[in-house]
Structure formats: C-alpha cells, structure tokens
C-alpha cells in the first residue's frame, strides 16, 4: 500500500506542478477571507461591537473576531480537503485514466491516501493564509503550533478525508462536481457554526448539522484555541468526529466498490 500511496502522490504532484489549479486556490482563500472581513465590518463599522448576551453564553465568552477567524480557517481546510479528495475519481474519469485505475490491482485506500497526502500541504497553505489574515484582523492565535492544535488539525483532516471518500462516490455516481460540491459547501457553511454559533439555528437544523464532521471539528478547534482546553477534556466531540469518520469511510468504500463493478461492466463488458 505504501508504494501505491507514493505513486499516487507523485502522479498528482507532477500534475499540480505542471498545471497548478490557481483559480481554485485563489477562490478558496478569497472565500475564507470574505468570511472574516464581512463579520469584521459588521462588528467594527456597522453594529460597533454590539454583541448580544446569547453569544457570550453560547461561546463561553469568546472574542468575536477570534471566533470568526477560527471558523473561517477550518472551513477553508474542510472545503479544500473535500474538494481535492472528493474530485479525485471524477477527475480520473474526465481525464480518461479511470479505466487504468479500475484495472490496476493497486489498493484503492492507498490511492485515496496518496491523494490526501498530496493535497494536504496545499490545503494547509490555504488554511494558514486565512489564519494569518485573521491574525492581522485581530484574532488571538496564541495557541497556534501547540501539540493540541496539531492534533485537532490532524483529527479534522481525518474527518474531512473520510467524508471526501463518500463525496467521491457521490460525484462519480452523479457524474457531476459543480452542483454536488457547491450545494454541500453552502449547507456546511450555513449549518456547521462557521460564522455564528449553531445554537441560533432552529433545533432541527442543529441536529442536521451533526452529520458533518466540520461541526464537531470546528467546536473542538475553538475550545482548544480560545479556551486552551485539551482534546481529552472534550471526549464527546472527539467521539463524534471519530464515529462520523468511520461511517463516512465505510459508506465511501462500499459505494465505490459497488460502483467499480458497474463501471467495469459498462466499460469492458
């Protein structure tokens, strides 16, 4: 499997170096920065820091700008990982290389791990850029680069990766990337607590938000970064993130195996 991971990493890396998808990267960073700038303008220029009491209750007295910046940065990491992993198979299909992949005895999990490894540096670069911009806007980022910070990010990437496996199967099934990914990202952005605590949403939407790994990941990230808590103090969030990861990974793998059989029959039958 290690060789498959290495080969996929190398193949994707060569593709990226030769044709860097700048427009995707610029677009994701711009979206992340907008998610900071817009609440910043409301907070400083429009409503002059006039936060209501509920915000303090829901966030444990968090600083508003720090709260926003952390949400926007993790959202960029989620979108980036989901896009890069989720689009892997459909990109192979579009580029005419899916047949080779289907015929090869290489491990499918290794293939996806190779995709993940290759894209992680780019995703972290986008995440770091948004975080740095947030720092300029006044976010308190003193907890960055602590061991807890690194662990949360690794857990979050695991959750996004597993969801990406399912997304990849959905995209291959629907033969579409545009509608699927954008609908998912709009839903996540609205329901996962990126720009506001999810407690403001109706109860049924809050329950719906729990199906996305981003919801527990962003809450855990904020507790570590704002309140200096450890992961061990948030076992319920950790458990939710891990359970969701397992569920999405199983759905993705099973779905892809079924789809693989159908595709092989269709192409070579």
């Amino acid at each position: 499997m290690v060789r498959v991971i290495g080969a996929t990493y190398k193949k994707n890396r060569i593709g990226i170096i030769r044709a860097m998808p700048w427009s995707f990267i610029v677009s994701r960073v711009v979206t992340g920065v907008t998610q900071i700038v817009f609440p910043f303008f409301i907070y400083h220029y429009f409503l002059a820091g006039n936060l209501n009491a509920d915000f303090g209750v829901y966030t444990g007295g968090a600083d508003y700008i720090t709260y926003i910046v952390l949400g926007a940065a993790l959202n960029v990491l989620a979108v980036s990982t989901l896009m890069n992993v989720g689009r892997a198979l459909i990109t192979e299909l579009r580029e005419g290389t899916l047949e080779v992949l289907l015929l090869s005895p290489a491990s499918r999990t290794g293939y996806f791990l190779g995709c993940l490894g290759e894209q992680t540096m780019r995703a972290l670069l986008e995440f770091g850029t948004v975080l740095a911009v947030g720092g300029i806007f006044g976010a308190d980022l003193r907890q960055t680069f602590t061991l807890q910070f690194v662990l949360v990010i690794l857990l979050a990437i695991l959750g996004f990766f597993c969801m990406g496996l399912s997304l990849s199967a959905v995209m291959l099934e629907a033969r579409d990337t545009y509608i699927t990914q954008n609908t998912l990202f709009f839903l996540m952005s609205l329901t996962c607590g990126i720009a506001f605590p999810i407690q403001y949403l109706p109860q049924w939407v809050q329950s719906f938000a729990q199906i996305f790994p981003l919801t527990p990941a962003v809450e855990l990230f904020r507790r570590v970064m704002i309140h200096g808590q450890g992961i061990g103090e948030n076992v319920e969030l950790l458990a939710q993130l891990l359970i969701l990861s397992v569920i999405y990974a199983v759905i993705g793998i099973v779905w892809f195996r079924r789809k693989e059989r159908i595709l092989i029959e269709r192409i070579f039958g």
């Binding site: 427009s23 677009s27 920065v33 303008f41 409301i42 907070y43 209501n52 609205l190 506001f196």
Partner: protein, 270 residues
C-alpha cells in the same frame, strides 16, 4: 430599432435553448442564493439590534435590507457568472466568433446575451426576495406600484453591467480571475450585506466604483428601508452617469476585441 430588438430576441431565445434543459440549474438559481442569504442573516444573529443603526432597528428591517441587497446583487452577479460561462461555452463550441462575423449589431447581441441570462436566472430568487419583503412589510398595498419601477431599474442597470462583462470576457479564454475580482469586492463594498453609509472613507471610495451601490441606494430609499427618500436624486444622477460610462466602455471594448482578433490572424477564438 426593429433589427436591434430582433437580434436581442434571438439572443434571449438562444440562451434559453442552450442553458435551461436541466433541473440542476434550479440549485444554482434558487437553492444556493437562498442558503447564502440565510447564512448572512444568521451572521447578524450574535448582534443586538437595539438602537437605530443607519435606519435598521429590528429583525424585520434587517431582513428587508438584506433581501433588497441580495435581490440586486443576484442580478448583477448572474451577469458576471453568465458572461464567464457563455464566453467559455461559446468559445469551445465555436459560436463566439459569430459576434464578429454576423452583420447584426454588436451591441444588440451583447445586451441580448445579458438580458436573456438575466430574465432566466434571477426570477426564482427575486420571487423569494419579494416574499421576504412582503413578510418584512417593506412592500405593502400602498407602495406596491413601486415594484415595476424597481424591476425596470434592476433590469436596465444589470443588463448594461452584463453587457460590459460580456465585452470583457471576449478578450481572454482564461478570465476566471475576473469572477473573484468582481464578486467579493462587489458584495462587500456595494452595500449588499452592510450599509455602505457605515463604511470608513477608503471603503466608501471603493463602493463608488460599483453601479450596484447606487442601484441599491435607490431601491432602499424608495422602499424607505434606510431613509425617507431624501437624496434619491443624487443617486439617480450618479447611476445615470455610471451607466452611460459603462455603455461607452462596452462599445470601445467590443471594437478593440474585434480589432485584436483581426490583427492576430483570424476571428476564430478557440
């Protein structure tokens, strides 16, 4: 005039035949804008609206403010998006050069493309915004006659904006960067989500560059959302000047795009 209207009608028909054959379009035309609108509305939830913030002092007034902002923004943004997708699709499909090979008026074709897209892309979301405006009581029986005025204003100004976008996208095969360039600054500085009146001076200066700023000011003043209507004349004059400027720029850009392609050998784009 008859020929111009004929060309525009043909372009509108072409747009309809080309783009609206899949239920997937309803996602981009209704579901995404509605989700985006709700996200912005909820971003305001951590704030207390007690007091009068540039004419907004309650949840309903905020809804009306955002609904007008999103309705107008959607019209303008669909123009940028459409110019990008049409330039790409027509370029690869080999029909973009028809703009230069046909004896039809270049300007009429250009504005026909914009108007066709506008009529088909924004009606669903505009219905949603109207529903919000009725709920927020910004549109009532006594001022419902203003609706056609607002629609004409929106249609006219965004078609002219769209014509300019179409002309810009004639120049390059890879003009996707314009999408980001026009989207974020326009949504932030034109007062779609936050009143431009509360901006610092530097941001107010940027907001003057977008015709959407004046268009939104007029709509909100007419509906008494951010004021009682005083100062509407100044905004109408500014919007008029802006639109005239854009028509001039579009004409120059169309000529330059054609000259550029003639000079570089052939009129084929792809």
């Amino acid at each position: 005039m008859k020929n111009i209207l004929l060309v525009m009608k043909a372009e509108i028909k072409k747009q309809q035949e080309h783009n609206y054959h899949s239920y997937f379009v309803y996602f981009s035309l209704l579901i995404w804008p509605v989700l985006g609108f709700l996200e912005v509305y909820y971003t305001y939830k951590p704030f207390s609206l007690t007091g009068n913030f540039i004419g907004i002092s309650s949840g309903k007034e905020l809804l009306a403010f955002l609904a007008t902002g999103y309705m107008a923004y959607n019209c303008y943004w669909s123009m940028v998006q459409n110019a990008w997708s049409m330039s790409y699709q027509e370029r690869t499909g080999g029909t973009l050069e028809v703009s230069f090979l046909s004896p039809a008026s270049r300007m009429a074709m250009n504005y026909g493309k914009a108007l066709g897209a506008l009529l088909q892309e924004v009606w669903m979301f505009c219905c949603f915004c109207l529903f919000i405006l009725l709920y927020a009581e910004s549109i009532r029986w006594d001022n419902i006659f203003l609706l056609p005025v607002i629609f004409i204003l929106l249609l006219g100004s965004s078609t002219i904006w769209g014509g300019m976008m179409n002309a810009i996208f004639l120049f390059s095969r890879d003009a996707e960067i314009f999408m980001d360039l026009f989207d974020t600054p326009m949504v932030l500085f034109s007062g779609t989500r936050i009143p431009a009146a509360c901006f610092p001076v530097w941001a107010k200066v940027i907001s003057l560059l977008f015709p959407l700023t004046y268009c939104l000011n007029i709509i909100r003043l007419v509906l008494h959302i951010t004021g009682d209507g005083a100062g509407i004349g100044a905004d109408l004059l500014r919007l008029g000047i802006c639109l005239l400027l854009m028509v001039g720029i579009t004409k120059v850009l169309l000529r330059r795009a054609e000259a550029n392609n003639r000079k570089n050998g052939e009129l084929q784009f792809y």
